[in-house]
Amino acid sequence: MRANAPRIDPADLDPVREFRACPIGLHSPALEAVLNILRAGTMGGKYCIICLEPHRKWALGRLSGIRGVPPDVVPGVEYDDLEEAEWDVFRRRWEAETGTRLPPEFDGPLHAPSTNTAGESR
């Protein structure tokens, strides 16, 4: 962390709730600030998403940050919903940045199992 770099207040969970409710879309200034912090940093080790089957299955990946070295798949972390993947990356970054585990209210799946998020409404 650079000196004077903006930090996230781990006690302020409103931006987390907002992101969980709408991972992609219009964000409040508070959530934008959190996202800008979480998305900063160098490319080495940065999370990405690897598509395993189009519109069906994705895996968590990490960029190498090294030219010519492809992203690695993080073993055992797969998704059947892209917004779930987006939330999982957010959660991992938020917890790493703040050194704080999110409380149980943020556990569990993002969407009810019947929700179709693969198509237009996304």
Binding site: P23, I24, G25, L26, H27, E32, L35, N36, R39, A40, G41, T42, M43, K46, Y47, C48, I49, I50, C51, P54, H55, W58, G61, L63, R67, G68, V69, P70, P71, L82, A85, E86, V89, N116, A118, G119, E120, S121, R122
Partner: protein, 742 residues
């Protein structure tokens, strides 16, 4: 994992032409090939469904073989050197401006600036740079080698004069590395002499290679590529008489390399290094290389330049008559992979023509070819406000850099990639491909996004032909003149002068223009005059991903000044009624009808459309308004009789002004806080009885098929196309002058 990769020798063919397909089966598997017509390349289950149609009678079963790509540029001198003149010794001088001076080359054996060696035995000499050792010269004898190195590293982006001499009688090898401008506290110049009892073991087969060395792997397989600029290499004999003196300021716009010496040791460039590059003597007063070529005597070489993969042909196909004009592909399938090699079939001359022509923007496909932005650049996630998603092709390209990158990417030395080519597999120019740039939902971009338009044209039953940018650039208005209406695609961002001229001439002839995309006709590009499928971009003034260095804003191909058409003096607003204003890439939104839409002149456009909201649905980001947006601006050339029919709203703060629209930074530029970044649907009639309709949004085409094609976006597009192919002339309004609200 990608194991099948291919490209075709052509992008546009017609009945009777033969098209050749070049394939690498990385695992040497057999594969089946079939020609298919691509109707809809979108795999999204929420869409209208992927659709391709087999062309009967096209089936090949082929034993595949791996074919390699050997990236890296250099100069090959074609003529044998009079080695007898070098028996007593020799000297070489050159100027070098290294861009990766810390590197000892891809395999650690040096970045070779000048070599004269036997390809097989390696006997001869080479001059290069090697990280901390700085410049070196090596004499390779039959049994032993001697190297003389400066011992001090070069600084990046600084010019050096390198001189070497071999004296056979004295048995001495001398090297001088001299910075043209010294830097206080840094010792980067040196003069070194070492004893050298070894003589170069070259034979009459030895050839001069500049910026690389010959290898035993093959006649056109080189190694030890140099990164940076070289200028004025000169080979002299022991007495100082010139043997070869290469002047790169001659023939800047071509691939030939001219030797001014007495033996005519001419050469040619390999994999097209950058020419029209400022030399050591560029003084800042010259902006165009044609005005003072002597200040542009440098060539910039890269270890990762790739223009032509040079693969052998696996199979060829003679296009039969009677096939519908369209987007086609050779579909390759093996046990482990599938690939598509796309191309266009044009309607054959003399067989009539449709009233409508859809121009497939293959220049823009080339600009984005094998784009690595989200792999290389940290900006990607912030540009589109979500985590990048990579498919198998992206992961493959991240590892296999020899397949080259796009005109948004940088070479390994950090310089911008200025030349792109389709003579290599272009993995993001494919049906089924999803791009991180394509917003949420289908995630389509460029060619695959344009299949949404083809799918719609097919569903609506329009009679249309397809041509490519290459056809337009080569033939000019002749390619358009048979057609009453020209249709532009989702993102035809890159156009040449000849393409713009053709569109202007078509309009002057009463033609009509429908633009179904966003950020169109934005950057100038230049196609290579003799190598079809090779294109250059000088990204000057504002840049994007990278920017040209000072003094290097004119294309090597033909010399035209590069950059934005708006800055060149032909803004897209003149042609389309609107021009690029900003971009987002997360969610797309909708348009709201404006007062102009109720003008009787626009009644035909809104026939059957109810309500004020247009396109609040779609496969690209969930709406018809998004990704990259254009709006009207009379100050930039939007005709004063333009009707602004609808304007987008509801964008997120990820939508920000384009750099050309942004003359100063200020807070609150995000589209949720500012109303600057909006798409506008515009319409105007031309004085010649034609008309122009532009949607100003890349996402538009993703909404066409919504609700089984029965929706406001489809209806509006159909209303426009039906009227635009109707020969009845449009009439200018009685008074073109109107209050300028844009």
């Amino acid at each position: 994992m990608k194991t099948l990769l291919g490209y075709a020798d052509q992008i546009s063919v017609t009945a009777g032409d033969e098209i050749a397909f070049r394939v690498s089966s990385e695992t040497a598997e057999t594969y089946d090939a079939t020609i298919v017509r691509i109707v809809n390349g979108d795999l999204n289950p929420a869409g209208s469904g992927y659709r391709e149609e087999d062309v009967p009678g096209t089936a090949w079963h082929i034993q595949g073989r791996p074919q390699k790509i050997h990236a890296g540029s250099c100069i090959v001198v074609d003529t044998a050197v009079p080695l007898e003149r070098l028996a007593a010794g020799w000297r070489v001088t050159l100027l070098a401006r290294p861009t990766l001076p810390d590197s000892s080359g891809q395999d650690g054996t040096g970045q070779v600036m000048f070599s004269l060696r036997d390809r097989v035995s390696g006997g001869g000499m080479e001059i290069g740079i090697k990280g901390e050792e700085g410049a070196y010269v090596t004499v390779q004898g039959s049994q032993a080698r001697v190297t003389c190195a400066a011992g001090v590293p070069m600084r990046r982006h600084e010019w050096y004069r390198v001189r070497v001499a071999f004296d056979a009688a004295k048995g001495e090898l001398t090297l001088s590395q001299a910075a043209l401008e010294s830097c206080a506290g840094i010792a980067d110049s040196a003069d070194v002499t070492v004893a050298c009892a070894v003589e170069p073991a070259w034979t009459s087969a030895a050839r001069i290679i500049i910026a690389a060395r010959a290898t035993a792997e093959g006649e056109n397989i080189f190694g030890g590529f140099y990164n940076g600029k070289l200028e004025a290499p000169c080979l002299l004999d022991h007495a100082g008489a010139v043997i070869g003196q290469w002047d790169f300021s001659i023939g800047i716009d071509g691939q030939d390399i001219c030797d001014q010496g007495p033996f005519h040791l001419h050469g040619h460039t390999w994999q097209m290094p950058g020419r029209a590059m400022t030399g050591h003597n560029w003084n800042g007063s010259i902006r165009a290389w044609q005005d003072a070529p002597e200040q542009y005597g440098a060539i910039h070489f890269h270890e990762d330049d790739i223009i032509d993969a040079g693969w052998a042909t696996d199979f060829a196909w003679q296009v039969p008559s009677g096939l519908k004009s369209g987007l086609y592909a050779a579909r390759l399938r093996s046990a482990t992979d599938e690939d598509y090699i796309p191309f266009v079939i044009r309607r054959a001359a003399g067989t009539g023509h449709a009233p409508l022509v859809f121009v497939l923007p293959t220049a823009s496909y080339l600009a984005y070819a094998n784009e690595h932005l989200a792999i290389d650049a940290a900006l990607a996630e912030r540009v589109h406000d979500h985590v990048p998603v990579f498919g198998a092709s992206d992961v493959f390209l991240a590892e296999r850099r020899e397949f080259g990158a796009s005109l948004y990417d940088r070479h390994s030395d950090g310089s911008g990639i200025m030349i792109s080519s389709r003579l290599r597999p272009v993995l993001n120019m494919r049906p089924k491909y999803q791009s991180w740039l394509g917003g949420t939902g289908s995630g389509l971009w460029q060619m695959n996004a344009d299949t949404h338009i083809i799918d719609w044209l097919e569903h609506e039953g329009f009679d249309y032909d397809i041509i490519t940018d290459e056809d337009l650039d080569r033939e000019g208005v002749k390619a358009l003149s048979p057609y009453r209406c020209v249709m532009l695609a989702s993102h035809p961002e890159y156009v040449s002068t000849r393409m713009l001229d053709a569109l202007a001439a078509h309009r002057a002839d009463g033609g009509r223009l429908v633009s179904l995309g966003g950020n169109a006709l934005y950057w100038r590009v230049v196609y290579h005059p003799t190598m079809p499928g090779v294109m250059e971009l000088r990204r000057c003034e504002v840049g994007n991903g990278w920017i040209t260095d000072p003094g290097e804003s004119c294309h090597a191909f033909g010399g035209e000044y590069g950059g934005l058409w708006e800055r060149i003096g032909r803004p897209p607003h003149e042609t389309l009624g609107s021009g690029f204003i900003g971009q987002g890439f997360d969610k797309c939104t909708y348009f709201r009808r404006q007062a102009d839409s109720y003008n009787p002149r626009a009644a035909f456009i809104f026939d059957g459309i109810e309500g004020d909201i247009i396109g609040d649905f779609g496969l690209i980001g969930g709406g018809a308004a998004g990704i990259e947006l254009d709006r009207a601006n009379s100050a930039k050339g939007t005709p004063l009789n333009t009707l602004v029919l609808a304007r987008s709203e509801g964008h997120t703060n990820t939508y920000l002004p384009s750099t050309c629209a942004l003359l100063i930074n200020y807070a609150g530029q995000g589209a949720a806080q500012s109303d600057l970044v909006r798409a506008e649907i515009v319409f105007f009639e031309t004085a010649e009885g034609g008309a122009v309709f532009s949607t100003g949004s890349i996402a538009w085409s993703g909404s066409l098929s919504h609700a089984d094609y029965d929706n406001s976006v489809s209806r509006m597009t159909g209303n426009v196309v039906r009227r635009f192919i109707d020969p009845a002339p449009f009439e200018l309004p009685a008074s073109a002058a109107r209050p300028v609200s844009f």
